[in-house]
């Protein structure tokens, strides 16, 4: 390489002392060497606790390496010119109570851009982020996608030579994800280098090179295509009719020869451990995707076991026609603003029902009304036959709720969190102990029992949150973006549990931004701009797009439906 690298890491290691006294130190990075030339874009992927955030903090000059050489922008790390680095920490470090403008202007001035002196840069940023109409809105009231865009803008407002973005697209819908990537591209010049951490391989694949970090070591460094190559020849597909796919996927995942599987459109995909198709059925070979390469690389060789989490759920098929969850004309207004308009649907026992829609479309509002966290302005919701407005506590006893944002007690350890939750559901004595034991074993929480929940890696946090929601084996389960921010292997594990729990007769209501996950749902409802725009099985949705064609996947159908609504609204007389 002729050009001097912008970043140069040589044998960098970092260890942190254990969370408790006597605990072994955590080796966050082990001998990492990395070069990044100006103008290059690097996608940093890897499972949770693989060292991504530590590496980012070293690059931002916020963590000093224990050993090895770190050269940032051609100089030693402790003489880093911070005005040349735009670092976006995970979650963005925004002030929730301040407005969009106040946040952006704060970071602009800290990074040396005086908003008054460069109004065109500020308005350019507002236009690109689409935040122009919300300048005076408190950041806490923004949707997840807009918050991430603002955080990105705050980080790169001074057009730095190096952009460090830690998980900029976590919890963001596919449309906004595309927009955030575009935003980063628009804000970077030809010489700007970019490091982008993510668990979404699609995003990483847009970069020039990918680094896969696992257990503190670099396992792969090369072009995105090279990652998929690792799974080449091991990917297979087979078409399956509606209604049987989920069961087939469940069986597939229990196959020892299979690493992972997914449903896409009318097809079941499998990633095999060897270059042989899984047993049974007429499997056809298919090209590998980067995420399959990722999964193949991280495969630990162990097959999934039948979900122990689900086994404790009693079979609940005694009243199959009685809806377990019902929303009847649910409407929520905040002043003039309608957050959810006349939303109606019902979920039967054993059904997985997906609530899809972009950030800010009204999914969370609908969700909150059904959990009793918001009172409907009109309409009503029932859970397990109980009206939420009349029998709040009884209805809440019947549901398990996993919030979008991690909401367990960060400073308490895992064991204490679980004990609190199990007691809150009114379980006693032996029932308490066995419920905790079951969840801990099924979700592999044993090693973390004494760790403060706030210090857990994201994937473990999510597992803990899922575990906390199912301690009392409720007949109804509410999961609000359960897989946001976790790596593909944890996602696979999650859906394995969710499918198995639903198979016991539990009604599951789930929101997600991943359309390949939504393919697991029996039925989905698409909300946009506070209104229902489609409802049905994934197949029905694929067939319902305008123009008579059949969408190849739910993702394609989703984009098409949203686009159609946008056009209809644009044409409608004001």
């Amino acid at each position: 390489m002729a050009e001097a690298p912008l970043l140069r890491l040589e044998g960098v290691s970092k260890r942190f002392k254990g969370a408790r006294r006597g605990a072994p130190p955590v080796e966050a990075l082990r001998g990492v060497s990395l070069n990044l030339a100006p103008g290059r874009r690097l996608g940093l992927v890897g499972p949770d606790a693989g060292g991504k955030t530590t590496l980012m903090r070293i690059l931002a000059g916020l963590v000093a390496a224990d050993s090895g050489d770190v050269e940032l922008l051609g100089g030693p790390a402790d003489q880093l010119d911070r005005s040349q680095v735009g670092y976006m920490p995970q979650g963005g470090a925004l002030y929730a109570e301040l407005t969009v403008r106040q946040n952006l202007e704060l970071y602009a001035r800290l990074r040396g851009v005086e908003p008054q002196d460069s109004p065109e840069r500020m308005s350019h940023l507002y236009r690109l982020t689409g935040l122009e109409p919300f300048l005076d809105r408190a950041v806490g009231k923004l949707s997840g996608g807009m918050r991430q865009k603002l955080a990105l803008a705050c980080a790169v407002v001074a057009a730095p030579r190096l952009m460090l973005l830690d998980e900029p697209s976590v919890g963001v819908d596919p449309v906004s994800r595309q927009e955030i990537w575009q935003l980063a591209m628009d804000l970077s010049g030809p010489e700007t280098s970019l490091v982008w951490t993510t668990n979404i391989l699609e995003d990483a694949a847009r970069c020039d090179e990918i680094v896969l970090l696992h257990e503190g070591e670099i396992r792969y460094h090369g072009p995105p295509a090279g990652l998929a190559a690792g799974a080449e020849g091991r990917c297979f597909v087979r078409p399956l009719p509606d209604g049987v796919r989920r069961k087939a996927l469940q069986d597939l995942l229990l196959d020892r020869g299979v690493i992972s599987g997914r449903i896409e459109g009318g097809n079941l995909h499998a990633l095999a451990r060897q270059s042989a198709a899984p047993s049974g059925g007429n499997w056809l070979p298919v090209a590998a995707r980067p995420d399959e390469g990722f999964a193949a690389m991280l495969d630990d060789g162990a097959a999934l076991q039948p979900s122990a989490l689900a086994e404790a759920f009693p079979l609940r098929f005694d009243q199959p026609d009685q809806p377990a969850i019902a929303a009847i004309g649910l409407t929520r207004r905040y002043g003039d603003f309608v957050a959810a308009q006349d939303i109606s649907f019902s979920v039967r026992p054993g059904e997985i029902f997906g609530l899809l829609g972009p950030n800010g479309a009204g999914k969370s509002t609908t969700f909150r009304m059904l959990c009793g966290l918001a009172t409907p302005s009109a309409g009503r919701g029932t859970v397990a036959g109980r009206d939420l407005s009349v029998a709040g506590a009884e209805a809440r006893q019947a549901l398990g709720y996993m919030p979008q944002k991690f909401s367990l007690y960060a400073d308490l350890n895992v064991a204490t969190n679980l004990k609190f939750m199990v007691g809150s559901y009114g379980l006693t004595g032996a029932a308490q102990a066995s419920a905790i034991e079951r969840v801990v074993t099924a979700l592999g929480l044993e090693p973390f029992m004494a760790t403060a929940a706030g210090l857990l890696p994201l994937g473990v946090k999510q597992r803990l949150a899922l575990g906390a929601a199912v301690l009392h084996t409720p007949p109804v389960l509410f999961l609000d973006e359960p897989t946001s921010g976790v790596d593909p292997l944890v996602r696979r594990e999650f859906w394995h549990h969710i499918n198995a729990i639903a198979a016991r007769g539990t009604a599951v209501l789930v929101t997600t931004h991943f359309m390949d996950e939504a393919e697991n749902c029996d039925r989905v409802l698409v909300i946009n701009r506070s209104q229902t725009i489609a409802q049905g099985t994934p197949d029905e949705l694929r067939h319902s797009i305008p123009g008579g064609a059949v969408a190849s996947s739910l993702e394609v159908a989703f984009f098409s439906l949203i686009d159609t609504q946008r056009r209809v609204l644009a044409e409608a007389p004001a």
Binding site: R57, L62, E97, E105, Y107
Partner: protein, 377 residues
């Protein structure tokens, strides 16, 4: 640092603007800045008083003669006491135990006879010793009342009677010896101590707790700029509270203000620098709001209240504790503050105190800039 960073002041201004916005959005800050001074001014101006009067006192008159009734009437008319007559010690005892009475007076049988015959009768006072200050003052007031009663009786019998010695007590700066003249300026010190150490104890810890510190530290702002700009808004709020207090003290409670505003401003500024630095150091050290507030209460508020000499005389404390008061910033505030109201500008006394306070401020400021590390986790 500022020499190396040409944008030092601009970056500091950005943080300052952010702090102001946050203060503006949280009503509790204004509660502290406006409501707290008013409440404290009221409590120290109207509720707390060191002038003991209206003390509930029992009276057992075993003599029941004109002399004893005359003494009883004199006591009843005296505002120091609220006299309730009892028939016997047995009746008064449970009331003293329950706290319904703070003492009782026994006029002995033969009181008038003894006075007439020239032997001194023994009037007995039993106090509730558990309330030490009340008991002390009750005895002193009763002794004074008995003396003036005796002199009045002597004058009735002999027009020419004069006592051999009398004491003419005068009180400089505070002729009526009103306790609010001492308490109200002290309360201003408490208000400043609270705004300084408590409010700032929260602000740095909150940045750490919410994770926004990582964002700030990744920007080019220097740590002294960060610390200075976080302090400044609270310094202004502290001054604003002081101004409210002074207005209430002078307009509401009629305190004189004999010094200059310049002196008040300098003394207050020096004190605020010390306590703001203290609060910020606590905050940066603990990184936890709950622990911070506990520390601020224990090391900021309570010493300012109890060890500053505002309520309790430092000279009367045990020697070891007297030494300890030298590290309580409020100790250097109270004398100048009381003087600027009641006496005037005594620069020879103000300057050493201001210097001491600025020393505290500089010490804390240096410690804070070291306590905040660029490195996180």
């Amino acid at each position: 640092m500022s020499a190396r960073d040409p944008l030092f002041w601009r970056r500091a201004a950005a943080i300052r603007a952010k702090e102001w916005a946050q203060i503006w959005l949280d009503p509790s800050t204004f509660g502290l800045v406006v409501l707290m001074p008013l409440i404290l001014m009221f409590l120290f101006g109207s509720a707390v008083t060191l002038d003991v009067h209206g003390t509930r006192t029992g009276l057992i008159d075993l003599d029941r003669t004109s002399a004893s009734r005359d003494l009883a009437a004199t006591l009843s008319n005296n505002s120091y006491f609220r006299i309730a007559e009892q028939s016997s010690v047995a009746e008064a005892e449970p009331q003293l135990r329950s706290g319904a009475l703070r003492g009782f007076v026994v006029i002995p049988d033969g009181f008038e006879r003894d006075l007439a015959s020239g032997t001194a009768p023994a009037v007995q006072l039993v106090t509730d010793g558990s309330q030490v200050n009340t008991a002390t003052l009750l005895a002193a007031n009763l002794r004074g009342t008995l003396r003036s009663w005796t002199e009045a009786r002597a004058r009735q019998q002999d027009q020419a009677f004069v006592p051999p010695l009398s004491l003419i007590a005068r009180y400089t700066y505070n002729p009526e010896l009103e306790s609010r003249y001492m308490l109200v300026p002290g309360a201003i010190g408490i208000v400043m101590a609270m705004i300084g150490s408590l409010l700032t104890a929260l602000i740095m810890a909150r940045e750490y707790e919410r994770g926004t510190m990582e964002g700030l530290l990744s920007t080019p702002i220097s740590i002294p700029a960060l610390v200075l700009s976080k302090l400044l808004p609270y310094y202004v709020l502290g001054l604003a509270s002081t101004a409210i207090c002074v207005a209430v003290a002078v307009l509401g409670y009629g305190l004189p203000f004999r010094g200059s505003f310049l002196a008040l401003f300098l003394v207050s500024s020096a004190f605020l620098a010390a306590v703001l630095g203290q609060g910020l150091l606590i905050s940066a050290g603990t990184k936890n709001q709950f622990v911070s507030t506990q520390f601020a209460l224990l090391s900021g508020f309570l010493p300012s209240l109890l060890l500053s000499g505002f309520l309790f005389e430092i000279d009367s404390m045990p020697t070891a504790i007297q030494w300890l008061t030298y590290i309580v910033p409020a100790r250097y505030l109270i004398p100048p503050l009381q003087s600027v109201f009641l006496v005037g500008d005594i620069w020879s006394m103000f300057l050493p105190n201001i210097l001491a306070l600025m020393g505290f401020g500089a010490f804390f400021f240096l410690r804070v800039t070291r306590a905040i590390k660029r490195q996180i986790a």
